[in-house]
């Protein structure tokens, strides 16, 4: 087709701490970060055999169509994937879910991709998604996320507004924007800490959620990107004329290598720096 005879194929594997049916359902749920239907501007999705889908993201040529060919819960999902990056050719994505004890081995094969620069770009794209997706399953019963709760003498509206001023209470070393939905910002502490955050939920006066969509904690020995896919959740509630802020680092569980150090750091950042900033307006 169009003289594009050579085709590319990419294969990815991830072990995910959940059962195949849970992972299967999450792959088709647009609310779960890390699957291809998440974080899009417009989505039409009909996940059944011969159902079609359409997605669009901000920016030129960031859209695509496709057709489901297999939806065999909980073992296999297959669909075609067509976009400017495939030059309109139907490429094929096959995702299989295999039970491995308590976990699931998820294998994603993307084949029939035209051999072009854009086609080769799918490897990076899938790795981006598949580094986020497994982190969505850390929040299972029995695994405890880091949490911190503080109470302040300010209204929920004030608290909400002040939390958005990240450079005043977490670190001055911040690039990007941190106030609106889909804003992204990067935090660096020298060479030791790099994390990129996206505002995935912003409910004025009530809730702010940041998804960590990239990270490198270089002081960690094994999995330097273990923050990637985790979420930082700020829930705000009124208590009389005061406010209670409940902070959760979803996915920061005791099994993580950084837990002990990250727990100490968050205790300082949330219970002292954020508390001081909201209470007295005293920036770091």
């Amino acid at each position: 087709m169009n003289g594009l005879k050579k085709a590319l194929e990419f294969r990815f594997e991830r072990t995910i701490p959940a059962s195949p049916d849970k992972v299967y359902d999450a792959w088709l749920n647009p609310k779960i970060p890390g699957n291809p239907w998440s974080s899009v501007e417009k989505l039409i999705l009909d996940p059944k055999a011969d159902g079609l889908f359409y997605w669009r993201k901000p920016g030129m040529y960031h859209y695509g169509y496709g057709r489901f060919t297999k939806t065999e819960r909980p073992d296999r999902i297959q669909y075609t994937w067509v976009s400017p990056d495939t030059m309109g050719v139907e490429s094929t994505v096959t995702v299989t879910f295999r039970k491995q004890g308590e976990e699931t081995l998820m294998t994603l094969v993307h084949s029939d991709i035209p051999d072009t620069d854009e086609g080769r770009g799918f490897e990076k794209g899938w790795n981006y998604f598949l580094n986020i997706f497994p982190g969505q399953f850390a929040d299972v019963p029995g695994k405890k996320n880091y949490t911190a709760t503080i109470e302040v003498a300010r209204s929920p509206e004030d608290v909400f507004r002040l939390i958005l001023e990240v450079s005043k209470w977490w670190t001055k070393d911040i690039e990007g924007e941190s106030t609106k939905l889909n804003d992204e910002f990067v935090i660096r502490h020298g060479d030791r800490h790099y994390s990129k955050h996206k505002l995935v939920e912003v409910v004025p006066g009530r809730k702010i959620v940041w998804l960590v969509n990239d990270s490198a904690l270089n002081w960690i020995e094994k999995n330097k990107s273990e923050w990637t896919g985790t979420k930082l959740v700020f829930e705000i509630a009124a208590k009389g004329d005061r406010s209670v802020i409940h902070f959760t680092h979803e996915g920061l569980i005791p099994e993580k290598e950084c837990y002990a150090r990250c727990e100490q750091s968050w205790n300082t950042v949330i219970k002292e720096w954020l508390f001081n900033f909201i209470t007295d307006g005293k920036a770091i």
């Binding site: 087709m1 169009n2 039409i44 009909d46 011969d50 079609l52 889908f53 359409y54 030129m60 040529y61 859209y63 169509y65 496709g66 057709r67 075609t80 067509v82 976009s83 400017p84 990056d85 495939t86 030059m87 309109g88 050719v89 139907e90 854009e118």
Partner: protein, 143 residues
Amino acid sequence: MKEPAKTIEVKVERTIQAPPSEVFDGWLNPKVPGTPWHEGDKLIFNPKVDGLFYWLMSGTPHFGRFKEVKRPARIQHTWMSPNTLGHESTVTLTFEKKGEETLLTLVHSGLPDNEGGKGHEGGWNYFLDKFYKQFGKKADKKE
């Protein structure tokens, strides 16, 4: 691919012997010869706003999304295939009453300025000639 590619537009018209509502309904009915949906190897078709279609013709996949379905005056949908290089082009059909007849105008814009893009003019003429004849036949029978 960051720069917008240069595009061309194809316009095809036919005056059809039937009122706009009939021509409009005919165009969205895959059973009517001369609609693209009638021919081909596979069709998934949901002609309503934000409905999608998939049409496989001679091994070439086409996808699109309906943006306007305003009976009996206007239909607009996107159109993507290897012949648009995977870019979304736009097909707009208008149905204008001309006495007892309907002026059907099909404008296909946002096509790439290459052989594949230019080929759509021949394609639409092929379909609209067939479509036109469906209504002609019916009118002949009445006489």
